[in-house]
Assembly symmetry: C2
């Protein structure tokens, strides 16, 4: 395997991805179905066996180490018992600095080809990544397969292709000749792309691959060496991806420390020491807003580039719909999927006190509330698909938050109850809690209630609902918003107001697309202009801020 | 005049500029020669008359105001006596916010066409801009014409074209259809570009147009309204540009407050109040590092985007050359041009104690120093071109700094003396001071000595010179660097080391291109990765960080 082979093998993939980024029509390089027909009839069984044999043993695909650590526990009720090679901050940074020299000397095309090769190889492990994700995040298996497998890998390819497009958008060298009357002067120019330094990528517990690979691959394609610091509760899925990429680098005779895994524990975290290290020039962060603000401050004081996805409060407005059943089915699924643990899941649902219009007829708040409860019930109590849709709750704090919300004393539209996960008696699984309140309790609902917790909030009017939503976006950020209205004037007004406030907006979703989801190559994830964070997967900023252009001029 | 007319008129100009940005061969939309054949035989006389009638009167091209202020004084020895309409920060911000609504609703193509129209009209005033620049900055007339006229306008066009290219690099709307087995689901998507808010552009006294228009036009083409806050000592040149752009906006029925001039005085500066205003989202700053650091801190605390060009210490290494005369002529010109008041002018010239090789023969430090002095002398004492090349010193503090340097007690290679500017008896004009020292006095020469002050610094070896240069770049930043070497191995080593440190590097300049100059559409000005500042005219970051992309999805 040579670099030339890889360039040839992956040229079409990269070209198609670059084109998809521009056209933004449907594009998926890896099919999302966890199907044996696509990924091999034995892939699932082999992955399950590998997963089980990995439990309670060292993850030995990342090389040797003196210290091994790990503390992952499945939200389905058992400890994983996996340990990973652990290194000090200085060891990680020194090795990353050494590895970067040769990596940044490669052309962007070479780097992109290597990264696609790693993704293609990694895709052979989608089922294992799926089980690893299920038993660290609590996602149901199908979602875990999709979110950490094809959907995440498409996001990685998207960032890789965009980074390649940016870096090759102007010539790398030119003979510049300036006419000067009867004579001329020539200068031989070249333009060198200088990566900003080590790219630290700090992952989260709920989407350990999907939220990590965009920054990781954007950093790598632009010539930075990358240190991935996963959440100590969700290491296994991204460890597989890092290991595959290191294997490819070794086969090419490159230093595998171009990408490293920095494992830590909740008791002895590494993140801030890495953030403060002077050799770290770029930080990608997904996680809570408090620690996110600390990182942003540290980065800005030391001229580091930082991309954050923190948290927002996502809002819905109910105004009118052609089909109340379909609308509430769609919304119910968004509230139920992975128990509201997506950064894009709705939390606050605003409805005017007169209710909403459905098929031209007025329906009261109570009727809408009942309909929503029924739709959630039919999802949750479907024995075949309910448990898998809900998954388990990643973190005990999230479970405690559900109890806290239930104790607020608000009207309960739908109470949360334990849900059994077949085969996993100890799972931390529960159904969505939906509460009803009004705008007098904005002290409560304007904060993020991460998990299966939502509020139906009664307002005076559509206008007040819209004002509540835009105020919330400006103050607390948002990763999504959803409006049901069949009134074109209201739709335009809502679009203008919400877009100006900085959040993406969806209208009248009533089918197999949900507001929580964003599609690689088409939907930009995160707008970058609300308190929810400054990262967008993947706009130009997301790649071009990771390197600088330095000119070299020689008298010709 | 309609938008459609402008789109048609300027389509070729924008296409050619976009192509030039990619290919980076020689491209100049406006010829640099201040020639009547190009710009009209009467252009110079008319401009001089207009300049003279503008002196000691209100600059009435920006509309009415209750308060008028101005305190410009020509470095050639007289007060300009011009006053400009003055507004409060709240007035400026309120008007900018109102104007932005319609401006951001235009397409990027429309905005770019309007901006090119304004540049074309502004180019009719190149001669007046030249006189205005000469008598605020102190530049000689030819340089003033070029730097604030064609060269600056090319930089404005470069930023406009790059901003247009970025914003049109992906579709603005698409019907997205996802195949789902035998069925499919469609979503109608659009992508809205949301400017980050008001773009404040803070100018400097020495390059009031060249350093202002890149940020100004990048901000405008990406949908931001712009407030230009010039240095109170150099208002007139950029006021002409702002006035022309406002005229074009009015003719199109648009709010002229899309671009405003914020005039202040040294005693009552407006900059910090504008920086801190919550409606200001982007700040471009050219100026000193102390105030620059204050702005950077204020911006980072409030999630504002900031582009800075502060100051660096530019270095030269003398190792070997084929032709010592040509090399020293080139260097002498760089030290003399505009009395070292360019941010790209060399300051520290490193030479090994054994001297350098010239045409294969060793020459001593003393011989090189003498040659450099002679070349400066022949430039300065050329009665025809000397005064115009030197120009005048913008600021009394710069003149005082020359005296301070002369009093250091260092060996004097060339003393600075007053220079007469024909026709301007009171001009603050002086020739370059060149001092000799060694690395024991790094406490002195590692700081910026802005103005006609340079140091020939004797080191142990080429290696030590190179180490001095890279250390200096990392600690103090640089906007340029220049190496004379005919040794290919040394050249490669210097290139790698200096580029890694983050500064651009030029080799063996011996002709009509000087290290101080950077050519629009070809040379990136500023690398963005040294303490000298984070702005690059114009890389992708320079335009793409000024807006965000917000998605709108509708169930189809």
């Amino acid at each position: 395997m040579t670099l030339a082979d890889l360039r040839t093998s992956h040229e079409n993939t990269l070209e198609a991805a670059i084109k998809a980024n521009a056209e933004r029509t449907f594009h998926a390089h890896w099919p999302e179905a966890p199907s044996g027909k696509i990924y091999g009839e034995t892939a699932n069984d082999e992955a399950l066996a590998r997963f089980q044999s990995q439990l309670n043993s060292r993850f030995d695909r990342l090389g040797a180490a003196e210290t091994w650590m790990g503390e992952e526990a499945s939200p389905y009720g058992f400890d994983l018992g996996i340990t990973y090679p652990a290194y000090t901050v200085d060891e990680l940074v020194d090795r990353a600095s050494s590895a970067q020299v040769a990596w940044q000397a490669l052309t962007p095309v070479d780097r992109a080809a290597i990264l696609v090769e790693a993704l293609e190889r990694g895709s052979k492990s989608f089922f294992e990544i799926g089980y690893a994700t299920q038993h660290t995040t609590g996602q149901g298996f199908v979602m875990a397969f999709q979110a950490s497998g094809p959907h995440a890998f498409d996001r990685a390819l998207e960032a890789t292709a965009l980074g390649l497009a940016a870096q090759t958008s102007f010539t790398s060298n030119v003979m510049w000749t300036k006419p000067m009357g009867k004579t001329s002067v020539s200068i031989e120019k070249s333009y060198r792309l200088v990566p900003r330094g080590i790219n630290l990528v700090i992952g989260c517990s709920t989407f350990p691959v999907w939220n990590t690979v965009p920054g990781m691959f954007a950093g790598l394609v632009t010539g930075n060496s990358v240190i991935v610091k996963p959440h100590p509760g969700s290491v296994y899925p991204i460890a597989i991806v890092v290991a595959v990429l290191r294997d490819v680098l070794v086969e090419l005779g490159l230093d595998p420390n171009v990408v490293q895994l920095a494992v830590d524990t909740a008791a002895k975290p590494l993140a801030l020491d890495l953030v403060h290290h002077p050799a770290v020039g770029i930080i990608d962060y997904t996680g809570g807003p408090v620690f996110g603000a600390i990182i942003e401050r540290a980065a800005s004081e030391h001229r580091k580039v930082v991309f954050t996805e923190k948290a927002g409060v996502n809002c819905v407005i109910l105004d009118s719909t052609d089909d109340l059943d379909k609308a509430m089915e769609n919304l119910a699924f968004s509230l139920t999927l992975y128990s509201g643990q997506m950064c894009t899941a709705p939390q606050n649902i605003f409805i005017a006190k007169n209710g909403m219009m459905a098929g031209g007829e007025p329906v009261s708040v109570e009727v809408v509330a009942t309909k929503l409860r029924e739709k959630i019930d039919s999802l949750v109590f479907n024995e075949k698909t309910g448990p898998g849709t809900l998954g388990a709750v990643q973190n005990p704090f999230t479970a405690a938050r559900v109890a806290e919300a239930a104790a607020l004393g608000f009207d309960v539209i739908r109470g949360s109850e334990p849900v059994a996960q077949p085969g996993f008696d100890g799972s931390r699984s529960m159904s969505p809690l939906v509460l009803k309140t009004d705008t007098s309790r904005s002290d409560v609902y304007t904060k993020e209630w991460f998990g299966p917790i939502s509020f139906l909030i009664v307002t005076d009017s559509f206008d007040e609902s819209l004002r509540q939503v835009t105020d919330s976006i400006r103050q607390h950020g948002a990763l999504s918003s959803l409006v049901f209205t069949s009134n074109p004037e209201s739709m335009q007004r809502a679009e203008d107001a919400i877009v100006s406030a900085g959040a993406p907006v969806a209208f009248n979703f009533n089918s197999f697309v949900w507001v929580n989801q964003s599609a690689a190559f088409s939907d930009f994830h995160g707008t970058g202009c609300t308190p929810a964070g400054n990262a967008t997967f993947a706009d130009w900023q997301f790649v071009t801020n990771r390197y600088n252009v330095v000119g070299v001029r020689k008298q010709a």
